[in-house]
Amino acid sequence: MDSLKILNSSSLSKLRSALLNSEDIPELYLNSDIRPIFTEDCFVNTTIKVPSTVPNLKVDITSDRTRAKDDAKNALLIYEYLGSLSRTQASDTRLWVTLTHSIFWDYTFARWPSISKNSYILEHWFEKKGGGLGALRRNSISRLWWAAYLTVAPWERNSELDVFKSSDREKYTHILLSQQQIFFDVLERSYGSSDKVRICLLDALSHFLPKVKSKDNLSKSVVKKLSLLIKHKQLESISINSLRKELYDLVESCV
């Protein structure tokens, strides 16, 4: 295991500043063959230990839709590589910008190829500051880690979720990343930060997703109804079984 080094604040600031101050897209982001070059003094050591072999993240570049196909597999690889970071570590922009600008440079280019504005680079190579819940969920690598962290065997971190215990520890990661719309509707909404609501919702979706033609439309309808419901009902205060049934019924009503 090696200690992971991350860019120091000053190097990160210069990198971001070059992007923000440029009206055109900087040349660095126009060609994946050009790689950012950092000297040794640009980095600081961390206590994060990583295997010496970097995971090989795959992207099917056939079309925009296929590029997301391996998100769940890649999320699990990143989670295995970085391990269970503390939430504070995982909210550090320096970590994610280092990864997108170094070992996952090629992956980031392959997964997020539609570079037409600097804000797109800011979102997927950096962290879109001020972007609320979307900020960490847009960076090419942090989105994968957070997706896995919040969904792999959730019953191990929250005993209330024991009712969902399954031999498939990665079940909810696969559901979350099965559609970009679901990822957005769950992780970029405040209720998605609640372990109970997130897992009950993903579980309910898993029952009905195979029964609908448009999975995106199902997710959108569910979010609309759920957003109305939580205005007067505090779902996290009801028992896990009641919440599970409430969300199952809600998703069923949208099918």
């Binding site: 939430r87 504070t88 909210s91 609320g132 930060s193 007067h232 205060s237 028992s239």
Partner: protein, 270 residues
């Protein structure tokens, strides 16, 4: 705590749904690297009907901790008048909100609060577990382990550095954890000569307009360190103005006045 939202039944503290004020609890936080201790006391509404429901276990206080930066949303319930909780310090960074309200803890087929607005007439309501019974009180604090709010220097939120442009206007960047002002190369060389001699001039000419703009952008950049620190400075100084320019001047201890005095003194010396 007066808010208004159209609920399908009367909610305490929601506009004039119920003719009674709601009492605000006291929230104290003790922050260290290892733990975040939250102590909430005075948990009562001062509205007998709901306080009785809490005693009877039909209603309950819901306390929610939210930290957008670390994706924390934890919810707890209590019927006690005091609630103390220790959280793991490493789970929190930046802005933390504590949301407190009363929710139904049991099904109540004949919910009929006293002193309802006359529009409700003699109606009773069917309330289900989890439904909101009082409006929400929100308390915000900042988990910033390296920051001393008592000193609160402007340098803790704003940095000035040399930009890459030869000359022209300075830029202010709000997207980073600290606000960064980038001076042109030409201005930077002049800045180096003046910053130690008449710093008040720099406050009036550079820092004041940037801080004023930052105040208007605080909510948009709420997850940035500078935003939570700026909010804390404003709160500590108990500034009541709603004008971002006035607030900025108070934070900087009236930089224009100081600049005038300093420049005049400098000119008088010859």
């Amino acid at each position: 705590m007066s808010t208004y939202f159209s609920y399908p039944y009367p909610v305490l503290g929601n506009g004039d749904d119920i003719g009674s004020e709601i009492h605000d609890p006291i929230v104290e936080c003790d922050i260290s690297d290892e733990t975040l201790k939250i102590n909430i006391s005075d948990l009562y509404t001062n509205y007998q009907y709901i306080d009785d429901l809490i005693c009877d276990n039909k209603a309950i206080w819901q306390i929610r901790l939210l930290c957008p930066r670390t994706y924390v949303r934890q919810t707890y319930t209590t019927k006690d008048k005091q609630w103390v909780h220790h959280c793991l310090g490493q789970d929190f960074e930046g802005t933390v909100n504590v949301e407190i309200q009363v929710v139904a803890n049991a099904e109540m087929p004949n919910y009929k609060p006293i002193a309802m607005h006359q529009d409700y007439s003699d109606t009773s309501f069917h309330i289900k577990p989890g439904e909101t019974l009082s409006s929400q009180a929100t308390y915000t604090f900042n988990v910033d382990k390296d920051y001393d709010p008592l000193k609160a220097p402007v340098s803790s939120i704003l940095k000035i550095r040399k930009g890459v442009h030869k000359e022209g206007a300075y830029n202010a960047i709000f997207e980073e954890d600290f606000i960064t002002v980038e001076l042109s190369e030409k201005d930077w060389s002049e800045y180096a000569g003046i910053r130690d001699r008449i710093p008040s001039f720099l406050h009036a000419s550079i820092v004041l307009p940037v801080i004023a703009e930052a105040i208007s952008l605080m909510d948009r950049f709420e997850s940035n360190i500078w935003s939570s620190r700026l909010k804390e400075i404003i709160s500590n100084k108990e500034i009541t103005s709603s004008s971002s320019y006035v607030i900025a001047q108070e934070i900087l201890n009236f930089p224009l006045q100081r600049a005038f005095l300093d420049i005049n003194a400098s000119l008088d010396k010859g």
